[in-house]
């Protein structure tokens, strides 16, 4: 589920790439400061994008620092520190822990259980700060689990639950600059982006899920081996991926972006398009 939302790096200007890395480092530092050092291993690109988007809507100027860290102990790196980092950090922890708990349920392996236990406390702390969001995520995952158990073959119903999670993540961000109109727009943005992520992940995982006998909406929908399912699913997947993104872009264009627009434009129009192409070509082998 993670790592799908990224910019297309070759098309970024150096300064945009620097800013992107700065936000990424800022999120990582915020996870360390709000949670624990070990929680930094949960850091993912998608939450960096959440951080960039929210902070670009704020009126406050970003604080840019130059700091060392354990990955780069000698050379100082650009770190963007904004208020929105702590929310993105909480979302990062909540989503990764939700994924770990999901793995426990799917695979019931000892390593997954150990990881869930290890991160149990940070998960609770992130949830305490964002009670409503944590409840929504929990409820939606319960619903998704029920759909998986009944082997749902309806793309819309399956994607709806995950789409609602991202809709909540974007629209429940507790910042003053998010007024009612922005909240509604962010909800649509998150919903369509989440829908895209869910479908992209399902397409990428077809082969793996057949092998492991895991639930996959496309495998339920089309029968046969991995190759047959992939070929059969291609047209429908392409429509759903691209239409969801076209709707996410419509919402994005209504957002009041004050900074880093070229970077965000790159993500929305190039990065996601490239990922869509890769997913449809079968060049992603399913992420963590």
């Amino acid at each position: 589920m993670f790592g799908y939302i990224q910019p297309l790096k070759p098309e970024l200007k150096i300064k945009e790439y620097e800013a992107y890395k700065g936000y990424y480092c800022g999120l990582c530092k915020s996870i360390k400061e709000n949670y624990t050092n070990t929680a930094r291993f949960m850091l993912n690109y998608d939450c960096a994008v959440l951080y960039i988007l929210l902070s670009s809507m704020s009126d406050a100027d970003p604080v840019v620092a130059s700091e060392r860290c354990f990955v780069s102990p000698f050379k100082k790196k650009t770190v963007v520190r904004c208020d929105e980092a702590s929310y993105a950090a909480a979302v990062n922890v909540l989503l990764v822990c939700a994924k770990i708990n999901d793995n426990v349920r799917d695979e019931n392996s000892l390593s997954a259980k150990a990881l869930a236990l290890f991160y149990g406390r940070v998960n609770r702390r992130a949830g305490n700060g964002n009670v409503k969001l944590a409840e929504e995520i929990k409820q939606r995952l319960e619903n998704l689990f029920a759909l998986e158990s009944e082997r749902c073959d309806d793309i819309d119903r399956a994607a709806d639950e995950f789409a609602n999670i991202l809709a909540a993540v974007f629209s429940m961000a507790p910042f003053k600059f998010i007024n009612a109109a922005a909240k509604k727009t962010l909800w649509h943005f998150g919903y369509n982006l989440g829908r895209w992520v869910y479908i992209a992940d399902a397409v990428s995982d077809i082969e793996k899920d057949i092998k492991k006998n895991n639930y996959n909406v496309f495998v339920q929908r089309f029968s046969g081996g991995a190759k047959k399912v992939k070929d059969a699913a291609k047209e429908e997947a392409e429509f759903n991926l691209k239409f969801s993104l076209s709707q996410a872009c419509k919402a994005y264009e209504l957002l009041d972006i004050k900074r880093d627009k070229p970077l965000l434009d790159n993500i929305m129009y190039l990065g996601l398009a490239k990922k869509t192409e890769d997913v449809l070509k079968g060049e992603t082998d399913g992420s963590v």
């Binding site: 297309l8 109109a181 429509f239 759903n240 691209k242 209504l254 129009y269």
Partner: protein
Amino acid sequence: MDPYKILGVNPSATDAEIKTAYRRLAKKYHPDKYRGHDLEDLAGERLKAINEAYDTIQKQRQQGGGYSYNSGGAGGAYSSGSARFAEIRNAIARGDLTQADAMLDALSERTAEWHYLKGMVLLRKGWYDGARQHFATATGLDPTNTEYANAYNTVNRSAGGYGQAYYGRQANTGGCGVCDMCAGLMCADCCCECMGGDCIRCC
């Protein structure tokens, strides 16, 4: 707010530049693009702000005759159908999707119009896969109806429209291919040799 900021241009921009920026934005937030969409009202507000900004600038520059965008009539005539369908259309227009969906499910006869309206409800809900299927069924049942055909074509076109920037980029970029790099190295080597050095020994 500063009208120049709304149009995303410099106050020093020429009239032509302002007009181009205005047209680009008016197209971006055109009512047709957002018709029936949940964010229709917000896009409308944005377009209104853009129109006002453009008018203000025009007036400020004392050239008169503000260019006003014609949004065209919204709504459109209903295709015939039972009173029930008209009610459902009203519910959809109000944004009351739950009621519209319940009314649709209560009907036993699944005509072309039923499939079209079901598709509209699903589309607003974000359930695009089902929406497209229902539009396809509606068009199949009544191929002469332009309303159904339009809905079906619009969803397909929107999906096909995404990623133009990405694919256009690939066609346009000459870029730094392997051939270019080799050619570049050869040139560099020639220059080097002129100056008495040599970075590629064999040539």
